[in-house]
Amino acid sequence: MVKGRVLSGEYGGILVRQKSDEKIELGELLISDTPDGKILLQVFDLIYGSQISQLNLELISGMKLEEDSDMEMMDANLRNYNLARMKSLALVKNGNAGLCKSLPSFFSEVREVRKEDLKFLTAPKNPLFLGNLRSGTKVMDVDIFLDGEKVFAHHILVPGTTGRGKSVLISNLLWNSIDKDYCGLLVLDPHDEYYGRNKVGLKDHAKKENLAYYTPREVPAGAKTLKINLEVIKPQHFNGVADFSDPQKQAMLLYYKKYGKEWIEAIVLEKPLSEDNDKQKFFREETLAVVKRQLLYLLDMDFANNQLHCNGVFCLNAGNTTIHDICSELENGKIVVVDTSSFSGAVELLVGSLVTTEVFNKYKYYKTKGELASKPVVSIVLEEAPRVLGKDVLENGPNIFSTIAREGRKFKVGLTAITQLPSLIPRQILANMNTKIILGIEMKPERQAIIDSASQDLSDDDRNIASLDVGEALITSNFSRFAMPISIPFFEDVVRESKKGEESVKKDFSGIQ
């Protein structure tokens, strides 16, 4: 179906006149057939065109408004029209797509894109389904996959304003990854929304054995109680998590050096650092008092009758293997969801820091041993990413998350960072996020931060991004040929569809008489 004709423009800004009885939308994909192949075009701007001068147009509209005149000057279809500015995304030739380095010829037709034009969009190795290709608002029957192993290792950024579908996107991403053995995902879930405690969620997946859910409260059957032993915490786990001054950090390190795994207890009980118990020679009394108070608050502990009492997830007698268990689950390609809804932001990040540090160190070790290739990629799903990756946070020094953002891909550990405010994240880190799944963003500076760090040239896509509706996204990735507009299906629909294909397996309960 012909939708318009090329009339002028330049490379990167081809001007097409829209056929009067057709409609061209912002973000729509179109095809220009050329002798060299099919040029895939995408609309990034729409403007009015007219053969009539501006003065006469104003006159006609005035007469229509004021005198209710139906005066038309010349043939309306010929004289007044819409123009679309579009850019070429790819040249498709013999089923392969490459960069297009030429313009479609003058007055050549552009037509609607069809499924068969997009046969080059095949599923890669380790396919991770992200959604259906979208042409404007029209959802096409073309599944969009990226190589999940590469995408997770090279970090994913999900920027978008509240209510544009970030949670649905992440739910889908997790749902589609749960049965993949090439990746293990750690999800710090501050809204306790992914497991599906009281609604549809990951627990409803046929492969739910690949899901581990840790929660500190009202543990559902099959889920694990989140308890972490104090002995697994080290001073460096607080980097980027809580505001400790340099002297306070040094005090913590001194205690760790002296008391090892029992350093927190030693600080709270104010155990001596030297035989003469003169702490003043190491640091001021107030420093220790602040550290002690901060630790008691962060770790939800009380100190009474010269004894330490733990009230929260951190405890003295249990949770010896929790961090190890989570790491093993990730290494076995599972999704680990940690319910952090009842935690303060600092505690949530501390839990994340504990697990992430352990996983990262293990993977570094595997690399030195030459065993990394056989391990699944691990990605840490982080909500409100600027809390640990923000410029202001990183001014106080690096933390485990920023370290992973910079060098994690070499060790198959990546981040899936979700944020409303990408502009708070340093450009270097944004540029390291090699896949961005962009949802609707209203604020110009936030869009600009994404455009400036995208894997493809999105300099003309500002309006396109601003106009992304709920459930619409634009993927820009080092692992895709062009920035792909997609439609994200409703999570409930995905679950319902997958249930249709499930076969009931006869269960064996031998031994129960």
Binding site: G222, K224, T225, D325, G511
Partner: protein
């Protein structure tokens, strides 16, 4: 009300006849103590035997002890454990139950693909007991996931839940690599949870559940346990009072030598120095040597002389472990210290997923391998015809691989 809680007796576990007798003796001693303490009933939370079809020697003693308590009207309630469960259903536990010597409490029915457990009621006390069996590789998890908990949770009266699984939240650091299940899989609101499977002693009241206990094995089941536990034991529970009773069959004397920068002669001298001026009456002596020898071979350490000297000091049994000992010449060889079971586990894990079978994930594959190894290691029983033995093994294998 007074009852005893035993687990992991592993009758017939040791290869060496002298140690194999020890687990049987420990069982006998524990039963004697139960009778002496006048308990109302006895719980055995899995792995009474080390295999589903144990040898006659151990069986004879177990049966005579069970008969003794039956005559005294002391009920014995059990669940099958990962060692004495058989997927084919052919286990000695069934024989003992049919003879009226024990009651297997893992009883129930399957209703719409869910397990509905029934209670066995102890006639003397009215205590209601139910439980879940244990399987190799933690495969009982699927049973728990399909357990109807509401009815048994709402049942009134004093209730006991027997189980044979390691609970994740109670796992000590030393067992971090062992398969476990979250506590949330257990039904709630029982008074006492009689656990078995992990070989450590644990007793703790868990919020929302009740008292969850592991008595540990009745007798150490491998070299490491002999070193670390020394002896086994069991619980006697009287109303709210719970007491762990050790079962001392033999004393143990562990010797642990690190050999860094040492030569075989130094190792020998060091071990002999440790046994100097000591008597080992009724004692099992364990010698663990680990590290890298400065020079020479492992066989250069004169263990024969060391063993002789220890036996001369009246030791009951001497054993050594040099799994983590290597020499400089062979240092590059990867050495994984641990029991045979740990080595097997590691080997299985390393090779998982090499053959792709539809519908078979790593967890199922691991479970199947362990079940197959278990079934294929079955030995021919005394008096069993070759043809019957083959038929029995084939039947188990067929069931496992769904033929």
């Amino acid at each position: 009300m007074k009852f005893a809680h035993l687990a992991d007796c592993h009758i017939g576990s040791w290869r060496d006849p002298k140690l194999r007798d020890a687990s049987t003796l420990a069982f006998g001693k524990a039963i004697d103590k139960c009778v002496e303490e006048n308990v109302d009933f006895i719980l055995v939370a899995g792995d009474l035997f080390n295999t589903s079809l144990p040898s006659i020697d151990g069986l004879k003693i177990v049966v005579s002890k069970l008969k003794e308590v039956k005559d005294k009207e002391i009920g014995v309630y059990i669940v099958a454990g990962s060692h004495d469960f058989s997927p084919s259903g052919k286990t000695m536990l069934d024989v003992l139950e049919n003879a009226g010597l024990i009651v297997n409490v893992a009883k129930g029915e399957v209703v719409e693909d869910k397990i509905k457990l029934n209670f066995s009621v102890d006639a003397k006390t009215g205590v209601k007991i139910t439980g879940m069996l244990g399987k190799k590789g933690g495969l009982e998890k699927g049973y728990y996931e399909n357990l109807m908990t509401e009815d048994i949770e709402q049942e009134e009266g004093y209730k006991i839940f027997m189980f044979h699984s390691l609970i994740t939240e109670l796992k000590p650091k030393s067992l971090e690599k062992v398969d476990s299940h979250p506590i949330s899989l257990l039904p709630k609101k029982f008074n006492y949870y009689a656990g078995g499977h992990p070989h450590f002693v644990h007793n703790e009241v868990q919020e929302g559940y009740g008292r969850i206990t592991y008595p540990g094995p009745l007798f150490p089941n491998n070299f490491k346990e002999l070193e670390e536990l020394g002896n086994g034991g069991f619980y006697i529970v009287e109303d709210e009072k719970i007491e762990w009773h050790p079962i001392q069959i033999y004393n143990t004397f562990p010797i642990n030598i690190r050999v860094e920068h040492k030569v075989p002669e130094q190792i020998r001298d060091e071990i002999l120095a440790q046994i100097n001026n000591k008597e080992f009456n009724n004692t099992i002596v364990t010698i663990r040597v680990s590290g890298v020898l400065e020079s020479g071979k492992i066989s250069d350490i004169n263990f024969k002389e060391i063993f002789n000297q220890i036996y001369d000091k009246s030791a009951y049994f001497v054993m050594k472990n040099t799994n983590a000992l290597t020499t400089k010449e062979f240092e590059e060889i990867k050495v994984d210290a641990g029991s045979v079971k740990e080595v097997e586990e590691n080997l299985i894990k390393e090779h998982l997923g090499q053959v792709k079978v539809e519908g078979m994930d790593n967890a199922r594959e691991e479970g199947l391998i362990k079940d197959l190894m278990h079934s294929l290691s079955t030995e021919k029983k005394e008096g069993e015809r070759v043809v019957d033995f083959e038929k029995r093994v084939k039947s188990e294998i067929s069931k496992l691989v769904n033929l």
